[in-house]
């Protein structure tokens, strides 16, 4: 009966999953709080001290005037204008930067250091993302499956992977890790003046499309960047996402095979599609007698 099926689906699968999910969130919340709260309190106190010291030095300024000034700076920052210095920076919205921005929208990274402030820009952004995100997904999907099919001829790979294929795969993974995850952070750290750890953190947060925006390449006004810097970064992001698509699809393929094997060993029947999300490719499960 469909109703019973739906209920058992909820009870058997979704509820434990939801529970695990919420527990995971709670765990994260506690740990982040433990790690960060103290540093934040220190920052806060330090800043208050700075303000007081500033007011002491410039006695013709009162508290209110200072707060007004702070407000001005905050507004500028929110609009993406960097209030430091005399600002002969290139515009935040010149072609290269806008290209970079469009890329961050479509890949859902969304750093946020730059965001449309006009209403028209915001509305356009919504529709642009609505079309662009599926386009991006299709693109990466194709890349992923295409590359994966080239690396492993799937049907035969399950039975016994040939040495050359395994080697090719290993080479692909190592090269990819170097080219996507090791060298670019080194390069960015060097150009931006970050430590390698910060560069790696930036790379991870970008490629996972979380994109906090606390570290963004090409936004330091005191540095002079070559014209194509941000475009290079955008290309790295796209390549990195594509590479990750392949890696993840390979990983999930592997996991699928392992889980199928495990189920087979446990003697469960797999043919009738008990798991409706299963991989539809012809299952050549090695029959271990």
């Amino acid at each position: 009966m469909p109703r019973a099926g739906l209920c058992s689906c909820w009870g058997g699968q979704v509820l434990p999953l939801l529970l695990a999910y919420i527990c995971y969130l709670l765990l994260g919340a506690t740990i982040f709080q433990l790690l960060e709260k103290q540093a934040e309190a220190q920052s806060r106190d330090q800043f208050q001290l700075e303000k007081l010291r500033f007011l002491e030095n410039y006695t013709c300024l009162d508290q209110q005037a200072l707060e007004q000034f702070v407000q001005v700076i905050l507004e500028a920052r929110v609009k993406g204008v960097n209030p430091k210095g005399n600002s002969t920076n290139p515009s935040n919205w010149d072609f290269g930067s806008s290209f970079f921005f469009a890329g961050t929208v479509v890949t859902t990274i969304g750093y946020g250091n730059l965001a449309p402030s006009t209403e028209a820009g915001q509305v356009f952004c919504v529709f642009y993302a609505l079309m662009g995100i599926p386009l991006n997904v299709v693109f990466l999907n194709h890349l992923g499956t295409g590359l994966r099919a080239h690396l492993t001829t799937l049907d035969r790979w399950e039975d016994h992977p040939r040495h050359s294929q395994v080697l090719g795969l290993a080479l692909f993974l190592t090269l990819g890790t170097l080219v996507i995850l090791i060298f670019p952070p080194m390069f960015f750290s060097h150009v931006e003046g970050w430590s390698f750890r910060e560069g790696f953190y930036f790379a991870f947060i970008t490629l996972s499309t979380i994109g906090f925006g606390d570290y963004v390449v090409g936004t330091d006004p005191s540095k002079h960047y070559i014209a194509v810097y941000r475009s290079l970064a955008a290309i790295w992001i796209l390549l990195g996402l594509a590479w990750l698509a392949v890696v993840l699809s390979l990983g999930s393929l592997l996991l699928h095979r392992c889980s199928r094997l495990w189920l087979l060993i446990r003697g469960l029947d797999l043919k009738d599609g008990a798991d409706p999300d299963s991989d539809p490719r012809p299952q050549k499960i090695p029959i271990s007698a």
Binding site: I31, K37, E40, A76, W93, G112, A149, P280
Partner: protein, 317 residues
């Protein structure tokens, strides 16, 4: 089912596929360029205006208090500190900063924004330990999130299917019932997740409706700029249930939006499928792939359960 990129297919089919991929790449680039142009046109003039305005205000500030020494302009120190404090998430106005951000509610919200890959960035870890933990947390949390969203979306779809079956039975026209049920699901989801919540946000946060809608969409699509974030205004009092409701909304809204995008994807993929599929598949496979018959369609396009990280989701188990 088709193995779209089976290396055993005839050569010209694979050639066609490469062409299709190439065209896709081109359209992707073209799309980026289009967006670039529009953003540039819309936003370029605004930034200049703001900078000019700020300059005027600053010089007015200096002029109004005339005995100010020129050293007022050696202000390098203060703006730097302000920016740093802002980045740190320490709210700046007045002596009373807002609720310490890394309180439990704030940290929870941060965790949510991390594993859903929204990543607002209004709050981000400063200490190295927290950053390292953040990376590990995300490595496990993002797949977990995708699995959960996949499941939720699956269930939503099943609900729609059952409606379709019941309607189809009584109406004797399954195609029409399918279409109707699908549209109803789409519209009710739209109302529930994208059109009504902005009313709540604009009431609570004092944003305009357009701004709230923009925030809602940017959040649910996991782009998450962070220019608008709920609950961060120090001058407002937020009830306790507010942030929790919003977290729930994010979860279910993302599942729903993922379904919608999957639907758009299957529409985008269909022409491609039909061309290459005709080599391997029977008619039945193609017809079965209308968007509302998501169940079958899901398999073929190992398609994303969610919009976040495009690639991740396609391979969620």
């Amino acid at each position: 089912m088709c193995e779209l990129l089976s290396p055993e297919g005839p050569c010209w089919a694979r050639g066609f596929l490469f062409l299709a991929t190439g065209l896709l790449l081109l359209s992707y680039l073209a799309y980026l360029v289009l967006g670039t142009g529009v953003f540039w046109a819309l936003e370029g003039s605004v930034g200049v205006g703001v900078a000019r305005d700020m300059g005027v205000r600053m010089s007015w500030g200096a002029g109004a208090q005339s005995p100010l020494p020129r050293s007022f302009w050696s202000l390098h120190h203060l703006p730097q500190d302000i920016i740093q404090a802002y980045k740190d998430g320490t709210y700046l106005l007045d002596n009373t900063t807002s609720m310490g951000r890394w309180e439990f509610v704030g940290s929870f919200f941060f965790s949510v924004s991390t594993i859903t890959t929204i990543g607002y960035g209004n709050l981000s870890p400063e200490t190295m330990a927290a950053r390292l933990f953040c990376i590990l947390f995300a490595l496990i949390g993002i797949p977990l999130n995708l699995v959960v969203l996949n499941r939720l979306g699956h269930l939503m779809q099943r609900g729609v299917h059952r409606c379709v079956q019941q309607l189809g039975g009584s109406w004797q026209d399954p195609a029409r019932a399918r279409w109707l049920a699908g549209s109803a699901a789409l519209l009710s989801g739209l109302l529930l997740f994208l059109l009504l919540p902005p009313l709540l946000f604009s009431h609570m946060e004092g944003w305009s409706y357009v701004e709230s809608f923009y925030f809602a969409f940017i959040t649910l699509s996991t782009v998450g700029f962070g220019d608008y974030v709920i609950g961060m205004d120090p001058s407002r009092k937020y009830p306790l249930w507010y942030k929790n409701i919003v977290s729930l909304w994010i979860l279910f809204g993302m599942a729903w939006l993922a379904l919608i995008i999957k639907m758009i994807l299957s529409l985008l993929e269909m022409p491609g499928d039909m061309c290459t599929c005709s080599l391997h598949c029977s008619k039945g496979d193609i017809q079965g792939r209308s968007w509302s018959q998501g169940q079958e369609g899901e398999h073929r396009v190992q398609s994303p359960g969610v919009t976040s990280g495009t690639f991740h989701s396609g391979y969620a188990i």
